[in-house]
């Protein structure tokens, strides 16, 4: 069947099988390979994208379910001038990534958290919100520090 999905402001129309996962549609049909597939059973969070602004696991959704909806992926995070967002820059500054395979998922989850909370989050909240994403390299410290460094009014520093 034919579906139409808006990703980062661009409309993608293509034929999909009923069983095609949204993650595979994004990667192999829309060609946006910045979203990664880590487990395909909804645990690791590497494939996290934003569906109408909310973070979701694109491996747990069928492509047909996204018909007519709007997605944002890691390719849509940088500004229109190509500049990295403050959150993206903080990831580099805090050494929040090593192999980089999980990074897109963390960025999409953290960006949604900061947006939903108006930037005011505590360390405990950041850790809890990111507990649905797995990173095998960093031990998470840099990731948490990066998110907190761009939070507008951290509730605690500890």
């Amino acid at each position: 069947m034919k579906i139409s999905v808006t990703i980062n402001g661009t409309v993608y129309e293509d034929e999909v099988e009923a069983r095609t996962l949204l993650s595979d549609f994004i990667r192999h049909q829309a060609g946006l390979t910045g979203t990664h597939v880590g487990c395909e059973h909804g645990v690791c969070g590497a494939c996290t994208v934003q569906l109408d602004g909310e973070p979701i696991r694109s491996c747990l959704m069928l492509a047909v379910q996204a018909h007519g909806r709007s997605l944002r992926t890691v390719e849509g995070l940088a500004g229109s001038d190509g500049a990295l967002s403050p959150l993206q820059r903080a990831f580099t500054e805090q050494h929040a990534l090593q192999c980089g395979f999980c990074t897109a998922g963390f960025l999409m989850a953290a960006e949604a958290l900061l947006r939903a909370r108006g930037g005011a989050v505590s360390e405990a909240e950041v850790r809890e919100a990111l507990a649905g994403n797995l990173c095998r390299c960093t031990g998470y410290e840099g990731i948490v520090a990066a998110v907190l460094s761009v939070a507008e009014a951290p509730l605690d520093a500890g």
């Binding site: 099988e17 069983r19 095609t20 996962l21 595979d24 990667r27 192999h28 946006l32 390979t33 910045g34 979203t35 990664h36 597939v37 880590g38 487990c39 395909e40 059973h41 909804g42 645990v43 690791c44 979701i56 696991r57 491996c59 747990l60 069928l62 992926t73 890691v74 390719e75 995070l77 940088a78 990295l84 993206q88 990831f91 580099t92 050494h95 990534l97 090593q98 192999c99 980089g100 395979f101 999980c102 990074t103 950041v126 850790r127 809890e128 990111l130 507990a131 649905g132 994403n133 797995l134 990173c135 095998r136 390299c137 960093t138 031990g139 998470y140 410290e141 840099g142 990731i143 948490v144």
Partner: protein, 794 residues
Amino acid sequence: MSGSGLIGAPLTRREDDRILRGETRYLDDITPSGALHAAFVRSPHAHAAITAVRVPADAAGVVAVLTAADLPAVAARYPVMEPRDSEVRAGEAHPVLAEGEVRYAGQPVAIVLAPSRALAEDGVELVDVEYEVREPVLAVRDSDLVMMGWSARRGDVAAAFAAAAHVVSGSYALPRLIAAPMEARGAIAEHDAAADVLTVWCSAQDTHRPLAQLAHILARPEHSVRVIVPDVGGAFGSKGVVAPEVAAVAAAALALGVPVKWTEDRLENLVGAYQGRGIEGDLELALDPEGRMLGLRARLWADLGGYLLTTTTVPPHTAGTLITGCYDIPAAEVQVRGVRTHRVPTGPYRGAGRPDAAYMIESLVDAAARATGIDRVTLRRRNLIRRFPYRTATGLEYDSGDFERCLDLALGLTGAPAGPRADTAGPAAGAVRGRGVAVFIERAGGAWETAEIALTPGGRFRVSSSSSPHGQGHDITFAQIAADRLRVPVDAVALRFGDSALTPAGVGTFGSRSVAQGGSAVALAADELVARARERVASLTGCDPAAVGHGAEGFSAGERTLSWAALAETVAEAAGAGGDPEPLEATARFQSANVFSSGAYVANVSIDGATGELSVERLAAVDDAGTVINPLLVHGQVLGGAVQALGECLTEEAIYDDAGQLRTGSFLDYSLLTAAEIPPIITGEVQTPSPLNPLGAKGAGEAGAVGTLAAVANAVTDALGGRVVAPPFTAEKLWRALGEGPAGSPPGPPVETTALPHTPSAATARRVRVLVRRGAPALALGLALGALAARGRR
């Protein structure tokens, strides 16, 4: 930044920009046109004979189903490493596809090729394999098939034990672990028939080990194989040997004449990728009345799984050689038996024998402290090696270190008194607290790497390294080393990695060796380039090369100054004039004996009396990685390794049932720690430069993974009053141990002396705990959709 300020500078990485934009190229992001996709028929049994493989004549969408008999390109089984002084049964090498029998559940039996992965997976369902099921051997001490044996002996061990005032013994076991890099494995193979070059894009730790393994298996000359390693989503030791599936993909590409691609999915990775640890040991320590160590006996049994992969023999050998730890033990007798079981093979996983040895010897030293009544820190101080180089009873030569400084710093970082069980009485009612101290040493570096450096237009430099990254940050680290030597800005140096056609040959990225070996090769190549540039300047100016100065501005000869850019221009001008351009280039190969990183870790823990749940309250991690090039990245390596090891302490274990079936075959069952579960980790640093390389570097890639388990295990034993429990320290095990009360002196038997069997309730508790702790509503759906996801790819 340029000049000497670069060594030790915490510079951020340059590859981050494209990663953060989603512009990376991991294996699955590459698909050559016309490629067929592979899926594998895998054994459902741990041990069976294959009596027939039936393929339907007309399987919709399937292009080919190939078994071992259909892959003529496969000329041999895996090459197998034979560690020094070991006896290895190379005949037990892993076959590419099953040859008449299967020895573990998940072993690849046939490769199915189709235009899409989904169709290939559909095809797998249609292949009918007939098995004659046999009894699996699962307990290592039940196995009578030793695939790897190694022993070492020095001194009069019998006399040491006869003369001892105290003899302390302990039995310890580490479960199997799954490396679980976030990107699973995979490869694409394409054969250029005209040139007869087989190109393999492979998610691997390096280029030249996969190349050598594939050349051996396919009996091809090495120059006819090209390995390209694209961006790699983590490895932790698990991508140092090409998967049998990768060899099958290469053989299928040769057989069919089309590109073939295989992207491993998570369920395949958990079942079929080689695992780590899986080792147990009985140790005995002889001490004099003052607690001086006189002799050590150690017998280790390693679960090697059904077959030998190339490096399966290495971790147990490493564990055996490091079993004397940081201590001056004059007499020792060590025996390692690596046995065959009917589980997936084991192999290197972060630490690869080092954490095993540290855990066992450090647990035994704590048992000795309890038995002798000597303070555990005092006992350690009394026996630490203090003179280097030091030759161990097992034949290693430790190059340098300052173990006591590491120990003092770690104790200082945790603040509380250092005495035995000083803070065992916890403040919370019903909680018991404990503290664990561990010192460790790890073999790093060793063997050789190569670097090429070239001056390019504009006074820039291209460095090609045989050492290759998968998250560590080789690029900025090596650029810092080169720029420091060349006295240029770090941004003038660009690195090239990961393509055997474009980068020089080397050994590979593993065992915390990249800076010491690969970095030293870069340093030497840069030095050689400076020497050649000096000669060039001398010949251009008529100056004596010895009188040519080298600094941040370039080169000075008398009144004249020539920048690197000006030198590059002279090369270009010579080329333009039709002369011999004589490019300014240099190559260096660096080789050395092993270097030895070390450290001291201290952990404070509490155990909930009602539930048995373990909380690591604080971990102090002090590492001596020699000279540090980039402390930002070393800190990241230490933390990452420590958190992997905390997973080993708290949740991680590959659990098999009595039939040899993996019961932890999803990320809900094989539970990795999340951001919400990480205790405060305080790091400290000691730098004793290695005398064996020009940088003074050792290694930090495995450090966190080596010291953490030993410290946490000793803290748990401390909290339990001397009772030893095998990791992972799950709530159920600790709750049971609390019910049994403190151990006498010497300590009682381990609650579990082997990793199996486990009761079903343990797995259930683990699953519930993960769901509760993560608290994400999507997870329940994840369970339900797991099967769908596996079926519905692409």
